[in-house]
Assembly symmetry: C2
Homo-oligomer: 198 residues x 2
Amino acid sequence: MTARASPKPKTDRGERTRQKILSAAAAEIGKRGFSVTSISDITAAAGVGQGTFYIYFQSKEEVLREMVLQMGRDLRQHLSAAIAGTRSRLDAEREGLRAFIEFVRGNPGLYRIVEESQFVDETIYRRHYMDFAATYRAALEAAEARGEIRKGSAEVRAWALMGMAVLLGQRYGIWDVATPLDDVIGPAVDLIGRGIQP
Amino acid sequence: MTARASPKPKTDRGERTRQKILSAAAAEIGKRGFSVTSISDITAAAGVGQGTFYIYFQSKEEVLREMVLQMGRDLRQHLSAAIAGTRSRLDAEREGLRAFIEFVRGNPGLYRIVEESQFVDETIYRRHYMDFAATYRAALEAAEARGEIRKGSAEVRAWALMGMAVLLGQRYGIWDVATPLDDVIGPAVDLIGRGIQP
DNA sequence: GTCAAACATGAATTGATCGTCATATGAATG
DNA sequence: CATTCATATGACGATCAATTCATGTTTGAC
């Protein structure tokens, strides 16, 4: 749709201003939503002039793209750290799910931004999920090769398991932050590990 | 937020006009998205004057609410019909999942509208999911009581299974409509029934 | 300390949508 | 065929957000 991104700042001051705008945008959009947040809301929250926005970004959409990428990196790192010490695929599922819901509880705004990006720039949203799916799929295939899990389509499983995490994240990470996570993780991991059949 | 809904039409002509607007809104919003669709886009597509919109609706948001409710009814009916003849909980899962992805494939616009409603009127979106979760949960509890499935939190399971369906619906109902459904349903139902462990 | 490039500003311009309203038409009643 | 209520219209004024730009300030190299 749009052309190339804006050029990077060339001085420290510029970099700082750019970051102020990005932080303010994340806070405002995360709180109130993308479409209702105006550029002047963002610049006001950042404490800069209206025109300053256009020195660093071409549009609100460009800011959103950057935030989705950022959130992908943050989440990836959070999940990697959580899974690092695990000894089996099921343990990885357990710790990954816990870390994901914790991340959502800790960053409800970021989570919301990613979901809303679907309706602003589907390409970036899709890539976000595709990237996670590819990683997830590779992990499942490796576990299958090690004989840790039964044979089965890693692609379908990856999307199914991501879907579980996403909706549980919505339900227990945003709508209800009172339920102890163990009450959620336990039954969910049991479902992942052994299914519902007797 | 807003007060009461607009009064219902009192004549056949009025009812027909209202429906024309609703259909046009579903088509336009489903295709291009809620926030970028203007009321004049809707009235133009419906073939009525701008002011006519306000005879039947107070705002675009009110139209969206109505569409989400409508889609909930449609989907519920579609799923009920699909599950009707099944003989076990796992069969119900299989046919329910198949019916859901089929519904998404057949009504991508409606599906999109529901997801976008989250960012327009969270109350209606949340109710949509809560209602489905309550039904799902009841079905799982009944199956557990019959001894058809292992014991486990029906609430967590319901949300986990809905999440699976939603993301698989996105992946195989909207982004990729070429993969045969059986290639998806099989692995997914295997996961639901027996999990990933050997 | 001078100078050029980078950065910052916010008022003004531009463009678009919302929602209203005065007016007109359709349909049903007696 | 007259009356009345419901429905329909689309131009218009009010509002609001996006983007530009002429002008001013800061930075850092030399």
